[in-house]
Symmetry: C3
Subunit: 307 residues, 3 copies
């Protein structure tokens, strides 16, 4: 199986075998970091990391991954420092940057924007988030974390909680995990429920799922995947204030949960997980963030044909 | 001929021999990139890349050039992240940064600002754009592109189209190409015509040139060099709307052009070249952007005495 | 004496021996830069340089220091490009970044923020400025400069002039230099005098000091340490305009000073030192800025156990 030259735009078209291969390579990357700290695998490669939307975590994680493989990095952060501010199209930016590098990692706010970039250039493109659409590298690191924490991927019940409408991580995760016989509990305010398209795709794939507006339903899962509810998604601020308190994970609430429940969150968190939860062994969200480096090392090595 | 320690501030004072030498070294750099991808030529050098005005292309191209020569890069992007925002003078900033690096590349909005920096420090300074004044590295990469695409520089007719008043690239190109017996067609709205100083300097240098407000006159050139007309240059927005349509290059218009006409643009483009033109072999503007890396590698190597 | 794994948050708790050790290592780093330019001392280390407040000098100086030791750098500049803008807490950001690197350098606007970061993570943290509180690396580079310029640290009279209230550099310097039997002249407008806490700590440490509102009193010192008075610190702009002229160092004023007086400034400067002063041999502020690289190389090497 070769990923050489491939774009990573969505999890929708990844097969089970491909996902397992990516996770295997990620494990190898974790070994490299543990033993050698820095590898020369990509020492002759140049990678563009273009973030036209703000980000700390994903950007640093990609730069860190590229650095650990000794790739040279050129990066842009922020829409204002970009040619986009001068009215340039995304594909023009892409075609220019292509001349400088061997691979493009891009985050930008337009749904489908990463595909536009991939179509414009010959070098491989990795989608680091395109608006509220997809965030495939996050979903893959989520799966790497689940496998590491629980020792398995098959047959798990996972509750996705919070903003399922605009939360691109749960979109990508729904597709990626669908190959592993999961049960999904989609738990959100009605205003923020999982998009119809994804629900119907899950039906087509024969996935067991339930939809709920009560967070207590999420507690019986093997995994609870929390997401941030953003105030700006609500037309009526009062509605936001009323709802947000219903989607907060506390120690108290966790007393009703499965003892071994794995708590994930793509971060950043605001109020939706109480800080008191952090000390529980179940709280895997910082470990999850750290796994991002291995997963992204794997993807860079794979698309650049060095894995 | 040595460029060691020299500043590259303007094309106005470059001799023909110097320009040809820079282009030769650029060709060698292109070979290095093709064969070795990364060279160690500047592995013990540190370069500051300071962009107090926004840019994607030029910044990435300089960082890419420095990376390909293994120079260490320290960079600043955006006026707000700079000491300038605290009221520091450009020469104070320069004198501080000088202590950290072997070479300073700077873009900033003040006409003549690059010269101020160069006068303040002992390390070589490369002007990456000073307001509407000059952009010498762009002009040199334009010439590298012309030589590569047409096999020659002597005796060409080049039409410069669009905003000739504020477009610093056409200022720098007018001086740089003047040593090669060119004919210039300056084609722009009256409001945006080439500054008097440059027109008179071209007269002094004995250059053949014509001035026109009709884009069709530009089509008989060997090269058509398009530039962006910026809305904010016009006091009357209606005037802008009326004019901008007259300076758009389309496939239809190109039917009246020389068959082999070379189409250049410093990018970013907005509307002034129709996307349909991109597929023509004449459309060299993305190749032109990519050449910027070789040219900037050459300049870094030259001023740091490693070419 | 080992600094391995230690946080550098404040100068308040540094002993005389520790400070002298840091200065010794800095001198060794200066030798490395002079002889080898680039060292491989930290070639297997990754450093995060997080600036949530704007800065040119300190940021570039840290990146330069890390580069000269061949450490890999991942950096964030500007509050907007950070997860902080999404409402993430400082300690959550820290715990995430910790997973990517071996050391965190952080500037942020909250007093005590660097301590919060240090408490949240296991990797060593270096405070690059926390609001108006402390700026320990600046104080240490100030001392390195004094030792280099005057050949000694003991028994000096140092006048600190300008904004002593919000000027974090003079806070850090007061503690750091207190071990060397100094005399302090605190010279500022009443509105901007040294915080009570620091004055009282200096009393407890048995330091000789005087407080003055007349800049002429500062001229008899061995060292005059100028700082910027910021307009925004005054409620009444007229008050600012009246005062700022009284705290400007000119050649004329320096006629009344000790002939060998050493002039320091943490930079950036606005109007408080007249440019005519720059040419005097006493004007050490640009040399002082350049020393920052050696001092920061020393701190990185020390906390990463490679010094």
């Amino acid at each position: 199986m070769s990923f050489a030259g491939r774009d990573i735009i969505t999890t929708e078209d990844l097969t089970k075998e491909e996902i397992l291969h990516i996770l295997d390579v990620s494990a190898r990357m974790e070994e490299i970091v543990t033993k050698e700290k820095i590898s020369n695998l990509l020492a002759d490669k140049m990678v563009a990391i273009i973030f036209l939307e703000s980000s700390t975590r994903t950007m640093l994680s990609f730069v860190s991954a590229a650095n650990r493989l000794s790739a040279k990095v050129i990066s842009v952060a922020g829409a204002k420092s970009s040619s986009a501010a001068k009215g340039e199209s995304l594909s023009d930016t892409a075609r220019t940057v292509e001349g400088y590098v061997d691979c493009i990692v891009i985050r930008q706010p337009q749904i489908g924007g990463a595909k536009i970039v991939a179509d414009a250039v010959d070098v491989p493109v990795i989608n680091a988030g395109d608006g509220s659409s997809q965030h495939p590298t996050q979903a893959l690191l989520d799966m790497y974390t689940i496998q590491k924490e629980l020792g398995m991927l098959e047959g798990l019940t996972i509750a996705m909680v919070g903003d399922l409408k605009f939360g691109r991580t749960v979109h990508s995760l729904s597709y990626a995990l669908s190959h592993f016989n999961p049960t999904y509990l989609y738990c959100s305010p009605k205003e923020l429920s999982m998009p119809e398209k994804i629900v119907s795709d899950m039906e087509d794939r024969g996935i067991d799922f339930q939809i709920s507006n009560n967070m207590e339903d999420a507690l019986q899962a093997d995994i609870i995947y929390m997401t941030r509810i953003q105030r700006e998604r609500f037309e009526d601020p009062a509605e936001y204030e009323k709802l947000k308190g219903s989607y907060v994970l506390t120690k108290d609430l966790l007393k009703k949960a499965k003892k071994e429940i794995l708590i994930l969150h793509p971060l950043p968190r605001v109020d939706e997980i109480a800080p008191e939860v952090d000390e529980l062994p179940n709280a895997a969200y910082f470990r999850q963030a750290h796994n991002g480096v291995y997963l992204r090392m794997a993807l860079l090595a794979l698309v650049l044909d060095r894995a």
